[in-house]
């Protein structure tokens, strides 16, 4: 079963076409790594999958629910407000810049949506929060504020926040690009552990060695298209453009 299905995705910003017909399927438990040069459309694809950008054309299905699709009349329709809220509970997104809420404690960053969106009791939310923080080695920071945490710790909290709703799929948008190498390895370790637990994940990253190790499938994007995809495109690229890009690493 595919948790994420994206078919023939087109997206333009003004006259600039950023996605030129992308097809991407992610099976349950699969880890997909998206690599490629900046401006190639990786982040835009992720933002389209997570409702942060609207597609111009194509179909997106998440955990069986249609998020958006282009009808035969050529008009692209999104799910109604209520279904959208429901679909948003089925995925999580980890940002490059964490985007934690600075005025909330670590605990409240994680529990706020559980309580006010998913209508869980405070006790339930706290229990979920505690078990996630424990798992991520952050339990003693539950009452700290984001400004008092290192970048790596902030990213752990944002991973915990994304995991709190028990999502079917987790998206990562360059989760380590704002971190120094030491902190990066800590976050990569967390993602690796999630992969071992068969969390379905789509990871946009510039960490080639990590992508090669952790991903079941790699996708190389450039110029708004998928140039090449497969298990071994980093160790054994077929296309000229992929080779050229990887030569830089």
């Amino acid at each position: 079963m595919n948790v994420l299905e994206m078919k023939n995705i087109h997206k333009s910003f003004g006259s600039l076409e950023v996605l030129k017909g992308i097809d991407l399927n992610v099976a349950k438990g699969e880890v997909v790594g998206i690599i490629g040069p900046s401006g190639g459309g990786k982040s835009t694809l992720l933002r389209c999958a997570t409702t942060l950008e609207q597609i111009d054309k194509g179909t997106i299905t998440i955990a069986g629910d249609t998020l958006a699709s282009t009808g035969e009349d050529g008009v692209t329709r999104y799910a109604d407000k209520k279904s959208l809220q429901e679909i948003r509970g089925k995925f999580g997104l980890v940002f490059q810049n964490f985007n934690l809420f600075p005025h909330f404690s670590v605990r409240r960053n994680i529990t706020e949506s559980l309580i006010h969106v998913h209508k869980k009791s405070k006790d339930e939310a706290d229990a979920i929060c505690d078990s996630l923080l424990k798992k991520l080695g952050m339990l003693e920071k539950a009452n700290a504020y984001p400004c008092n945490l290192s970048g790596g710790q902030q990213q752990r909290v944002s991973i915990a926040r994304a995991l709190a709703v028990n999502p079917d799929i987790l998206f990562f948008d360059e989760p380590t690009s704002a971190l120094d190498p030491e902190l990066t390895s800590g976050i990569l370790k967390v993602i690796r552990e999630l992969a071992e637990e068969h969390m379905t994940m789509v990871i946009v990253t510039h960490e080639m060695a990590f992508a090669r190790d952790v991903a079941d499938k790699l996708v190389f994007m450039d110029g708004g298209v998928i140039v090449e995809q497969g298990r071994d495109i980093i160790s054994n690229p077929q296309m000229e453009r992929t080779k050229e890009f990887l030569a830089g690493y």
Partner: protein
Amino acid sequence: MGDLQSTLTQLSSGLRFTLGIFFLTLIFSIPLGLLVARGRMSKVRIIAGLVRIYISVMRGTPLMLQLLLVYFGPYYIFGVKLADLDIGPFKYRFVATIIGFSLNYAAYFAEIFRGGIQSMPVGQYEAAQILGFTKMQTYFRIILPQVVKRVLPSVTNEVITLVKDTSLAQVLAVTEMFTMAKNLASAQVSVVPFIVAGVFYYVMNGIIEIIMNRAEKSMNYYS
């Protein structure tokens, strides 16, 4: 000494009006300012345009003139006699003062709030959207509390100015503290009432500074 005693008593009675104008203006102009800020940022161009003109006029003309217009306007323009009307316990001159002050201060507050709201990083909205918060929840739980922290120093400025601006109500013959001081000064042929009034204003603003500093400190737990 008898003079000083009666000066204090009379200024205190004027202080009621001064405080009344001050608090009522804040109560009305801050929520109105939030609304105006929203309007100013509206995607509907006609709303944004009208609000822009409103802010421009409110900031670009004297408050004293605006007060006179609110008071005399209904009669001179529309022939509606409000001047003798009592609204609840208040005379229309006092009500007109509150309307004029609120409309004027809402324009200034709106621009401060707009600056604060627009300084919020887009990532905060995106994170909230992904987590499923509604627009209202995002605004009241995520954005507004952070905006308050950002705009507090500018708001303090306005609040302090408001204390002093209450003296403009004298043009509508509201017997606030400054009007009283003026009358006393000419009756006593002395500047003492002015000095006492000055001390009153200064003490009020001193209290405001202390309160606002505390408020700022209470939000220092995050940055």
